[in-house]
């Protein structure tokens, strides 16, 4: 068991080159906060990027930040916050969800997992803010792609490929991301409803209005009751929530318009700055399933937003099921009993009717070995996926099998 903790990109390259020459696969990680996501991998060596840290360039007026991949998210967020900026993809912190004690993870981890928070509906995921990188391929060679400007089409967009590849294609050493100003003000309009269909209809009306939502979620009664915010737990009902952010006068105006529009569906209410931020942090970090005694398996289902309510209905029949919706219905967080296949087959069968995919985000190693945590691939995509892996990591030394068998 060798545990590499490189402090320079040259050391990363040396470690990978060694792994190639020895035929010794590496598990690649940042802080290790998401180490329990994906198929269990059987490697006796670890490449730990948590000492390759530091912000190397931050130009607030150019809206860019560049840092070594192992830089803690807490450090990135502190630097941005000092200039009243943020990462617009609203990276979640899954530490509590995944029962990890390793903080909020690293920038490299956020990008490699292509994280996205509730603002996904408006601003996209990590991939949409990822401008450039330097990396070491599974061949043990340095390569880079992208740049430090927001508009760039020079060569293939390898940033998109690296985002969401979970360290299976290359070890990113340095990352450049786009940053954005923090909105002046935020407010959340609440609509009390227990019915997922009414909720999705209301969220759709909000998303299709000109009021520019930056969040659109729904929690059922039982989950609302567990919220840390009294304005949510005291509703005595499920709650659809629609977030608005932007300049002050604009947010006030849109909030009023939205409440008028949604009033036909039931009573409305609103959350102001701190309460609003607190609620969306709960949604972002999957707080409803993060209690220390909650040992259920947790799935993340991505589907067409209009299908959210129907899919919710079909997966709620699973034992111990509890779920809430984000992304206007397009994202379902589902907790189920971890016994058997934890609903894998039922969930994926249900998805066939609605489109989309399901990922097991939390589950014991036995479960993750028994079911495919990442959605099984259709043959054409499977073939391209294997060939891409071959092109970047022909010896299979980087997180082999973490996403799919043989990849």
């Amino acid at each position: 068991m060798t545990h590499f903790t490189p402090e320079t990109p040259d050391q990363v390259r040396e470690a990978v080159a060694w792994a190639v020459s020895e035929g010794a696969p590496l598990s690649v990680r940042g802080a290790g906060t998401k180490a329990s996501v994906g198929r269990p991998i059987n490697t006796s060596h670890e490449l730990d990027l948590s000492r390759l840290t530091g912000i190397t360039l931050y130009e607030a007026e150019e809206l860019i930040l560049q840092a070594w991949a192992g830089t803690p998210m807490s450090e990135i967020e502190a630097a941005l916050s000092a200039r009243n900026q943020r990462l617009e993809f609203e990276p979640p912190n899954y530490a509590a969800l995944l029962k990890s004690d390793k903080g909020a993870g690293t920038l490299g981890g956020a990008v490699a997992a292509n994280l996205a928070g509730p603002r996904r509906i408006k601003s996209g995921a990590a991939r949409d803010h990822f401008l450039g990188f330097e990396a070491v391929s599974g061949r043990g060679e340095d390569f880079k792609s992208g740049g430090r400007v927001v508009k760039n089409v020079t060569g293939y967009d390898l940033c998109k490929l690296m985002a969401g590849s979970w360290g299976t294609l290359g070890v990113m050493t340095r990352i450049t991301v786009k940053v954005m100003p923090v909105a002046e003000k935020q407010r959340t309009v609440l609509l009390a409803t227990d019915d997922p269909e009414t909720a999705v209809r209301a969220l759709t009306e909000g998303l299709n209005s000109p009021y520019d939502l930056s969040g659109a979620a729904w929690v059922p009664t039982a989950i609302a009751a567990r919220s840390g915010l009294s304005l949510i737990s005291g509703q005595g009902s499920g709650v659809a929530a629609l977030r608005l952010d932007g300049p002050g006068p604009s947010v006030e105006y849109r909030c009023e318009k939205l409440r008028q529009m949604l009033g036909v569906h039931g009573p409305t209410d609103e959350l102001h700055s701190r309460n609003s931020a607190g609620f969306w942090r709960e949604i972002r970090d999957v707080a409803p399933f993060s209690a220390s005694d909650d040992l259920r398996a947790v799935w993340r289902l991505s589907t067409a937003p209009s299908e959210g309510a129907a899919l919710y209905g079909s997966v709620m029949a699973l034992p111990g099921a509890e779920a809430f919706l984000d992304w206007g219905g397009g994202l379902i967080w589902l907790a189920v009993e971890g016994a058997g296949d934890a609903g894998a087959e039922a969930i994926r069968t249900a998805l066939q009717a609605h489109g989309g995919h399901a990922t097991l985000i939390r589950g014991g190693a036995d479960l993750r070995a028994a079911v495919e945590p990442f959605q099984p691939l259709k043959p054409g995509v499977r073939r391209l996926t294997e060939k891409i892996k071959q092109a970047f990591d022909p010896s299979g030394v980087l997180n082999p099998g973490r996403m799919y068998d043989g990849v």
Binding site: T2, Q11, A15, A17, W18, S21, A60, E61, E62, L63, R120, G124, A125, R127, E141, D142, F143, S145, G147, V149, K151, V153, T154, Y156, D157, L158, C159, K160, G164, S165, L169, P181, E184, N208, S209, P210, D212, P247, G248, S250, Y253, S302, A304, P305, S306, G330, L331, G355, G356, Q375, L377, G380, V381, L384, K387, I388, A391, F392, P394, M403
Partner: protein, 495 residues
């Protein structure tokens, strides 16, 4: 510009290949006659022309699949083409290659407001998508200047931008799914109506791949709700530095305008002479700043932008008071290319991106190069995101002047890279910037990109000669040089 050595065997088999393709695409879908091939000899980069081996215009996905399979099995090169508006020669034909035109795929298949998306065929024009949904209050955000003509399939291939990129992103940020056909004829669905595509982000990889990885046969685009209102401000400055400073301060104040464009004096004059947009003629730099969104927000931000502009020494300010006036402000900018075309027999449009703060340095250096080459240059600039479009004025009838313009263009792009920018912000590499790729990427970087190409197209049959300055065989790229060695860095910390 060198293209790969043509395959004389393929050229000799033109009639045989045509017959085989006619069996797949009946009727007039296969064009062999030289006069009829002539309209396809170049794209928007008209300085380069090549007659294709032949042209095939399939009408169904099945036909595309069979055409590609035939070419794959017979080792024939294929150049995909949408509307042919590429400014980088992405659809430049090959004399030994089949030109695969997707123009007949011109239907909007589905508009789905509940999921805020539309499923369209690749030959639909960019603007036609917005036209189809605007009555219902929606639009498709990326708006390249050629939007009236360019096709959405081409937009995917080039990852096209437009003036609204800073706020709304490029094509890649506005797609949900594509259907592609790979060179061996396999039809593959990527993404759908959900927001995150699963597995490796093949949707992101296809976008901007310039027709080298697969042929796009269907696209699912995101639709956005049309903002309640949009207003524009025209701001004139005595120096480009002051204008650049104003751009930085607007963004620094946390304002992300829907569009923020800059024009220099030659561009202002050319545009004003052409469309009478009411631009001030006595300024060195003009900014058009457009704010869109709810009425209250736009009015509030317009006031803040005006205050910032005052602080930056703007010598003229005009706010659009009607939709008509706003469109007039834009008319000059949108017509800048043809306007420059009126003052010069030919012009060559460049497309580098720079970190914005480097603008004064780049403009100064560009003026020096202009004197050195003896060619005039007009600049339009997507100021918000640092994307420069210098228009080099030349006369192709003067011997050597095209070459001089190309050299001047290369120098500008090298300068962009030197100051921390990139070779192309939205027009693509194509053949135009292919030989400059080495200024931005190492040989190892380019080889890794080509290995991705090998995963999709191991025979190198799709659009060869574009993007990469040197072609390598996939077998050669796949070779590994493994050195059995010591444990690396014996001194690095490990546990």
């Amino acid at each position: 510009m060198q293209m790969p050595e043509p395959d004389r065997g393929a050229i000799a088999r033109r009639e045989e290949i045509a017959a085989a393709l006619r069996a797949i695409v009946p009727g007039e879908g296969v064009i062999v006659d030289e006069d009829e091939r002539r309209p396809y000899e170049s794209d928007g980069l008209s300085a380069y022309q090549t007659l294709p081996l032949l042209v095939v215009l399939p009408e169904t996905v099945e036909q595309v699949s069979q055409v590609l399979r035939y070419c794959f099995e017979n080792g024939i090169k294929v150049v995909p083409r949408g509307a042919g508006t590429s400014l980088s020669g992405g659809a430049l034909p090959l004399e030994d290659g089949v030109l695969l035109g997707l123009g007949k795929f011109n239907r909007i298949l589905e508009v789905d407001y509940d999921n805020r998306c539309a499923r369209v065929q690749p030959g639909v024009t960019n603007l036609a998508i917005t036209k189809a949904v605007e009555a219902d209050g929606f639009y498709y955000a990326p708006d390249p200047s050629s939007q009236i003509a360019c096709s959405i399939g081409g937009n995917v291939a080039e990852n096209s931008g437009g003036v609204h990129c800073l706020k709304y992103g490029l094509t890649t940020n506005n797609l949900l799914g594509v259907q592609i056909v790979t060179i061996d004829g396999e039809v593959i669905e990527i993404g759908g109506k959900h927001l995150d595509s699963e597995a490796y982000d093949l949707l992101g990889v296809m976008t901007g791949s310039e027709g080298l990885l697969g042929v796009v046969t269907e696209v699912t685009v995101r639709l956005l709700r049309t903002p309640e209102t949009a207003r524009a401000v025209l701001l004139g400055f005595e120096t480009s530095e002051a204008a650049g400073d104003c751009v930085a301060k607007i963004i620094g104040a946390g304002i992300i305008p829907g569009g923020m464009e800059m024009m220099d004096k030659p561009a202002i004059h050319a545009a004003e002479d052409f469309v009478r947009a009411g631009y001030p003629l006595d300024v060195e730099a003009l900014l058009i700043v457009e704010l869109d969104g709810p009425t209250q927000e736009v009015d509030y931000l317009i006031d803040r932008v005006r205050e910032i502009a005052d602080g930056c020494g703007a010598v003229s300010q005009r706010v659009s008071e009607s939709e008509e006036e706003r469109l007039t402000f834009w008319a000059g900018r949108k017509a800048a290319f043809p306007a420059v075309g009126r003052i010069s027999p030919d012009y060559y449009c460049m497309d580098g991106t720079i970190p914005r703060h480097q603008l004064p340095k780049v403009l100064t250096r560009m003026n020096e190069l202009s004197s050195q080459y003896g060619l005039r240059v007009a600049n339009v600039f997507h100021a918000g995101d640092g994307n420069l479009h210098p228009l080099i004025l030349y006369d192709a009838n003067n011997p050597g002047e095209l070459e001089k313009a190309e050299d001047f263009g290369s120098d500008i792009l090298k300068l962009c890279v030197e100051v921390g920018g990139v070779l192309t912000g939205e027009h693509g590499v194509g053949v135009e910037k292919r030989d400059l790729m080495g200024t931005m990427f190492s040989e190892a970087d380019l080889q890794q990109q080509q290995r991705l190409k090998c995963a999709f197209d191991p025979g190198g049959l799709l659009n060869p000669g574009k993007v990469f300055p040197t072609l390598h065989r996939c077998a050669e790229l796949g070779r590994m040089h493994i050195h059995k060695g010591q444990m690396p860095f014996p001194d690095i910390p490990r546990f």
